[in-house]
């Protein structure tokens, strides 16, 4: 039996925002070839988790290993699909250009976009059913089409690790089905996909692994084992927010900032 290596191996990751912790002592190890859901309530630190893993945010403590190696060596093998809202969709770009952007890391500075790039782009567009609108302005697309275009870019990159932030938020049914199909296909090819997801009900259906967190790690593992009512209550319950409130108030006092009184 071939030993599967970890797609993602995080030890003790701690991230602060100002003086309050957003992620606290997170340790997970997820093997390759799974569709992993990152689940938690709003403000749980899911996006922060991805950003810290990818080096967009500096953690205070902790180590991260991707496919057994450090981030620096793995950049070309990682595809990041951020939330739709973080991007300026009024930028003058066609769908095709957006997807082609996925090939930029491999093309480097001087290589011209040749046949290989064209094939990769065509394949990605076809997979995500975007071929008919490949020359449309990205600003004219619907939410679902935009998300598909984003994923097409990641597909064109042909990476091994994929990180998607809320790809199913605010998109139509058809797009959602297409996305899911493509993601499952990618999983069959032993790609590892991490998805920040907001909806508990659909999470059970979509993913085979899950990481539940709410500033701290609540649980991670196979979806059936993790989605017990106990664990869910812990994730979504309010018990843990007490610690955060206390931390914030004490730091406010020490900084001389205005303290809001709250009823507990």
């Amino acid at each position: 039996m071939t030993k599967k290596r970890s797609a993602l191996d995080v030890r003790g990751l701690t991230v602060h925002y100002g003086s309050s912790p957003v992620l606290w002592d997170l340790s997970v190890a997820v093997p390759e070839g799974h569709l992993v859901g990152l689940i938690g309530p709003n403000g749980a630190g899911k996006t922060t988790f991805i950003k810290a893993v990818l080096g967009l945010i500096q953690g205070v403590a902790g180590t991260v290993q991707l496919l057994g190696s450090r981030l620096e060596n793995m950049r070309k093998r990682i595809a990041y699909v951020p939330q739709k809202e973080t991007v300026d969709w009024t930028f003058p770009m066609r769908v095709r250009d957006l997807v082609e952007m996925g090939c930029y890391p491999n093309l480097g500075l001087f290589r011209l976009a040749g046949k290989k790039t064209k094939r990769a782009v065509d394949r990605a567009l076809d997979l995500l059913d975007l071929s008919s609108i490949e020359n449309e302005q990205i600003g004219h697309l619907s939410g679902g089409q935009q998300q598909r275009a984003f994923l097409a870019r990641a597909v064109a990159q042909d990476a091994d690790l994929y990180f998607l932030d809320e790809p199913f938020a605010g998109i139509d049914q058809v797009s959602e089905q297409i996305l899911l199909e493509v993601l499952r296909e990618m999983r069959e090819k032993n790609k590892s996909i991490f998805i920040v997801h907001h909806d508990l009900i659909s999470a059970r259906e979509y993913f085979d692994w899950a990481i539940l967190l709410n500033t701290r790690l609540i649980a991670f593992g196979q979806i059936d084992q993790v989605f017990t009512s106990d664990v869910l209550r812990q994730t979504y319950g309010h018990k843990l927010s007490l610690i955060e409130d206390l931390l914030k108030i004490s730091s406010d006092y020490s900084k001389g900032r205005h303290v809001h009184s709250r009823d507990f």
Partner: protein, 444 residues
């Protein structure tokens, strides 16, 4: 004569320098505009000012009156401090972005003015030269500035072409480009330096206050005209260069003096004229852009309204001719009965439709539809009745109320939707008012 005058050293310097500066600023301006940081360009040009003052003083102290070097170093230093200040204010002190920008702008500009007034008495020549930097003095630029602008333009074009992918990726999706290390801090630093140097060089012609128009207007105008980034860059560069050239030429040839002693009759300073040229081009693009220009949209709307009018007329004629009686032609009086509109509009529509070979006018004034007209009329009625049926069957609207909606929808239903409706309603024969629905036909 005109050509000779253009190459005359008096006009040559300002003309070519302003043109090159225009192209240069337009290209660098793309960076600023597409990072949604247009105001930052304005702030940087004002932040350069105290540095330029200090640099000029230092240059003058060292006897290098005409050296741009110290001026550049000084301006770079204060622009960098300004940019840093904005970052610190926004990210560390949580000041809102426009407050931070306004603060840095006002602060650095007033610092510059303060420095200037301090040297007003001690270094009057320098003072005058620095005052000229506020509003620009394009007319006294020599060939030296043409060379400087050209060299800078080559550098900027080189960087833009070589690093085009990185720059575009960074402009569009910062997160992606950071993860992929597409845009490095080094490249960002180079772009920043080029931006500041462009600002400094262009301040000579446009002045601190108006400089940002040269930076921003070409890119913003080009955005109105096209959606393709490469085309956009080309258009922006053309507008930048064109605006610069037109500004210089206009202010040169249209300024005229009356009397021998140069008593001015019409005075046109170059910098503001260039800025106004850009504004004019922007206004034209706003009105006439084939995409979304104001006038374009008005024209489209008028055309649409006219089309609806024609189609309504067509429908009436079709119903009279093909559906009801056996008449092949309809008298105009009858049409007026059925379609009460001002007669001149009717006549104009008839003329239009005749030209399009949709109907013909007999000698006695009766109107007859051609085959094309019959085809079109039939289709319109079909769409109208299909839609009525859809509203009744699927939206459960009472059949008395579906007519107004169908009157509107018949003009905009596409063939694709028509096919979908046909399928959905299982190829219906009758509409809710028991009128027959004309059959679908292939293209005429």
């Amino acid at each position: 004569m005109f050509i000779a005058e253009i190459f005359d050293p008096v006009l040559r310097g300002p003309l070519f320098a302003c043109t090159l500066m225009g192209i240069l600023s337009a290209i660098i301006g793309l960076l600023v505009v597409f990072q949604a940081q247009s105001l930052k360009g304005e702030v940087l040009s004002h932040a350069c000012y105290p540095g330029m003052v200090v640099g000029s003083i230092v240059a003058s102290l060292l006897g290098q009156d005409h050296s741009m070097f110290f001026v550049c170093i000084g301006a770079l230093a204060t622009a960098y401090i300004g940019a840093l200040g904005i970052d610190v204010l926004v990210h560390r002190w949580r000041v809102s972005s426009d407050s931070a920008l306004s603060f840095v702008l006002s602060f650095s500009f007033s610092l510059g003015l303060l420095l200037i007034s301090a040297i007003q008495r001690s270094y009057p020549t320098l003072w005058r030269r620095l005052q000229a930097l506020l509003v620009g003095q394009a007319a006294t630029m020599g060939d030296r500035y043409v060379v400087i602008s050209f060299v800078l333009l080559c550098i900027v074009l080189l960087v833009a072409v070589v690093f085009r992918r990185q720059i575009i990726a960074d402009l569009f999706d910062k997160n992606f480009s950071q993860v992929q290390r597409l845009s490095t801090p080094f490249l960002k630093g180079v772009c920043m330096v080029l931006l500041v140097i462009t600002i400094i060089v262009s301040i000579r012609s446009m002045g601190v206050v108006l400089m940002s128009s040269m930076l921003l207007f070409p890119a913003v105008t080009a955005r109105l005209l096209t959606d393709n980034f490469k085309t956009l860059s080309g258009i922006a560069a053309t507008i930048g260069g064109g605006g610069g050239a037109i500004g210089v030429l206009f202010s040169h040839f249209v300024t005229f003096s009356s009397g021998e002693m140069g008593g001015r009759a019409l005075w046109l300073p170059t910098g503001p004229i260039i800025c106004l040229t850009f504004s004019l081009l922007f206004a034209i693009a706003l009105l006439l852009s084939p995409k979304e220009g104001l006038i374009t949209r008005i024209v489209r709307r008028i055309r649409f309204v006219r089309r609806c009018f024609h189609e309504n007329l067509l429908k009436i004629l079709w119903k009279e001719c093909a559906e009801f009686g056996k008449v092949t032609a309809v008298s105009q009086d009858r049409v007026m009965e059925l379609f009460p509109v001002p007669s001149f509009r009717l006549r104009r529509a008839i003329r239009f439709l005749t030209r399009r070979e949709i109907l013909v006018v007999h000698h006695d004034g009766r109107l007859e539809l051609t085959a094309l007209g019959l085809f079109k009329g039939r289709r319109l009625v079909r769409l109208h009745r299909l839609w009525e049926l859809y509203l009744v069957e699927y939206c459960h609207m009472p059949k008395e109320r579906v007519h107004p909606s169908a009157e509107e929808m018949e003009h905009i239903l596409t063939p694709h939707i028509e096919r979908t409706l046909t399928e959905l309603l299982h190829n219906p024969r009758m509409d809710p008012h028991d009128k027959p629905i004309p059959m679908a036909e292939e293209d005429f």
